[in-house]
C-alpha cells in the first residue's frame, strides 16, 4: 500500500502538472476560462490532446492503483467495439490484448449505455489468448453460452423480461454405414478403442459427423477412412435419438444405406482392429445383435431394404440446406 501510495502521489503530481500545462496553453491561446475536465481532444491541437491523454491515463492508473476505479467518471470514455444483431442485442468480438481492469471499466460503461438504449442480449466472444478477460465479464453478470477449443462465448440478458437467448447446441450427430456387396455381404469392422474393444464384435463402420458436414458426406468419409472402400450414399434407413450420451448432451445416430464403388479393404490402423465382408445373416446372428439392440435393427433394416423394397429418406437440396424424405411415397 505504501508503494502504491508513493507511486500514486507521483502519478497525481504529474497529472496536475499536465493539467496546469493544458490550462496555461489554453488560456494563452484565447484568453477564455473553462473547466479543464470539459476539454475534448478533437477541439484542441495535437500537443494539448497528447497532454490531456497522458494526464488522463496517469490519472486513471492512479485510481486503478488505489482500487477506486468504480469512482472514475471522466468524460469521453471509450466503449467496447460492438455490432448490433438481428434481435435487438449487441455482439462484441474481442481480438486484441487488453488489461483486465481497462476491460472492466469499458464493459461497465458500455453496459450502462446499452441499458439506456434498451438493448437486449449482449454477447462477448473471448478468444482463448484473452482468457484474462473471462473473470471480469463473469463478475459483471455474464454467463457462459458455449465454447469451442479456441474461444468462449459469454452472454448477458439486460431487460427485466424473460430471456429469449437461443439454446446452445445440444446434439452430437453420428452415422453408421450399411454397405452391401452383390453377394449379400455386409462391410463390417472390429474397433480398436472404446467399449467394444477386444470383444470380437463385428459391426458397421461408424463415426461422428464433422462440424458443418452433411450426413451423407460424413457417411461416405467414415467408410473410406475406416476401410478404404469408396461408396455412394443411397438413403437414411432410420435414426436413433439417445440422451446423456456424453457430458449430458444427446446423440442423433443416422443409419445410412450405401452402395459400394470399390471392394478391396484397407483398414485404418489407429481405430480399426479388423475389417471384412461378412454375410448379413452372420452379422445378425452374433449374440451382441440381440432383441431391441441397435445392431439388430440395422441388420433387419438392411434385409428389408434388399428383400422387400424398404423406403428410407433420401436427400434433396432445398433453399435452406438438405431435406431427407421418403421420395417414393411423395411422388
Amino acid at each position: 500500500m505504501v508503494w502504491w501510495g508513493i507511486n500514486g502521489s507521483i502519478v497525481f503530481c504529474v497529472y496536475l502538472i499536465g493539467c496546469y500545462q493544458c490550462h496555461f496553453k489554453y488560456n494563452k491561446n484565447n484568453g477564455k476560462k473553462k473547466k479543464i475536465r470539459r476539454m475534448s481532444v478533437d477541439k484542441r491541437n495535437y500537443s494539448e490532446g497528447f497532454c490531456f491523454l497522458l494526464s488522463y491515463r496517469l490519472y486513471k492508473q492512479f485510481y486503478i492503483n488505489c482500487g477506486l476505479m468504480e469512482q472514475l467518471t471522466v468524460e469521453n470514455v471509450q466503449l467496447l467495439p460492438a455490432k448490433n444483431d438481428d434481435h435487438g442485442g449487441v455482439v462484441i468480438e474481442l481480438e486484441e490484448h487488453m488489461d483486465s481492469d481497462v476491460f472492466l471499466t469499458l464493459l461497465k460503461t458500455s453496459l450502462s449505455q446499452w441499458t439506456t438504449q434498451g438493448k437486449k442480449g449482449v454477447w462477448i466472444k473471448i478468444p482463448i489468448l484473452l482468457v484474462n478477460l473471462v473473470e471480469p465479464a463473469v463478475k459483471e453478470g455474464f454467463c457462459y453460452h458455449h465454447a469451442e477449443s479456441d474461444y468462449v462465448m459469454l452472454v448477458k440478458w439486460i431487460p427485466e423480461t424473460t430471456s429469449t437467448i437461443p439454446a446452445n447446441a445440444s446434439h452430437r450427430v453420428g452415422v453408421g454405414a450399411v454397405v452391401l456387396n452383390h453377394k449379400r455381404e455386409m462391410l463390417v469392422v472390429q474397433e480398436k478403442n472404446g467399449p467394444l474393444r477386444g470383444k470380437g464384435i463385428w459391426k458397421v463402420p461408424t463415426g461422428i459427423v464433422d462440424v458443418g458436414e452433411d450426413i451423407c458426406t460424413g457417411a461416405i468419409r467414415e467408410v473410406k477412412e475406416e476401410t478404404g472402400i469408396d461408396t455412394e450414399f443411397v438413403e437414411v434407413l432410420a435414426f436413433r435419438q439417445w440422451h446423456k450420451s456424453f457430458f449430458e448432451k444427446s446423440d442423433l445416430f443416422f443409419v445410412c444405406m450405401m452402395r459400394p464403388l470399390s471392394f478391396e479393404i484397407q483398414i485404418q490402423e489407429v481405430e480399426i482392429e479388423a475389417a471384412k465382408w461378412m454375410p448379413v445373416e452372420e452379422v445378425a446372428a452374433q449374440p451382441f445383435a440381440q432383441k431391441e439392440s441397435l445392431l439388430r435393427y440395422i441388420t433387419d433394416l438392411c434385409i428389408a431394404k434388399v428383400e422387400r423394397d424398404y423406403s428410407g429418406f433420401s436427400p434433396h437440396p432445398v433453399t435452406s440446406g438438405v431435406i431427407y424424405l421418403n421420395k417414393r411415397d411423395l411422388n
Copy 2:
C-alpha cells in the same frame, strides 16, 4: 516488495520454529535422527502432522509471495481430486473455492503425476463461481471443450500421439408440427419475433427441442405451448440439415405429423401473433411457400400423407434410446 519481504521473513521464521518443534518432538520420542523434509504425516502423531502442515502452508505462502512457486519441491504435495474415465484419462470436477496460485501448483503437480502414469485426456469442469481458475488452467495448456451457462469444461491431451478427444455437440434440434383436423385444415401461426415477424406469413408451429427431450415429446410440447392444442405424435415426415444456423453450429429440423386431440386455440402471447386452422391448399398458396422452400415441402408432405399414404419414420424404443424408422416397410 519490501512488504512481501518482511512478511516472507516472518513466515519463514515461523516455518523454522515449526520444523524445530517437530524435530525436537521426533527426537524425544525415539531418539533416531532423520531428515525433516522426509517426514510423512501418516507416520507421525496428530500434533506433528498439524505442525508440519502449518509450517508447510506458511512455507508455501512465502514462496507464492516471492513469486518463486515454480521452485517448490516439498514432498507430500496434495493432488487435485480426479476420477479415471473409461478412455485412459482423468476427470476433475472442482466444487470448492480455491486460490488461483494454490490451484496452479496442484495442477502442475497433478499433471506431472498423470504424465508419469501415462494418462491421456485430462478434463477439468470449472463451475462459473470458480471462474478465477480458468486462466491458470489455460496457461497450463488446457483448451475449452464446451460450456453451459454455469460451467466451462477444459481439456488437455497429454500423450505425443494424435488426440482422440470426442467432438463437442455440433447441432441444435428443432421441430415443426403438422397438425391436421378432419376438415383438411392445418394448424398455423404467425410469429411475433424473428425474421418472419410482421410479414403475415402463416406457418406450422415450430420450436427447439430441450436438452434431454425426445423429438416426439418436443413436438407435442411446442404445439401445446404456442396454440394450446393437445396432440398425439404420429411420425417424422422428413428432416432437414442446415449449417451455420447460429454461431457456426448446425441445425436438424424434424417435420412431425401430429394428430389433434383438442381443437380450441389459445395462443401464447409472448411468441405468437395469431393462430388458426387454415385449409392446407391456402397454406401452400402463400407466396412464401415457393418452389424448394421448406414450407412448400411441408405442405406437399402433408397432402401426400392424407391422400397417398406417405410413410414417414415412427418411433420405437430400443435399449439405447428411441429409433425412428419406416414401420410399414419393415414389417
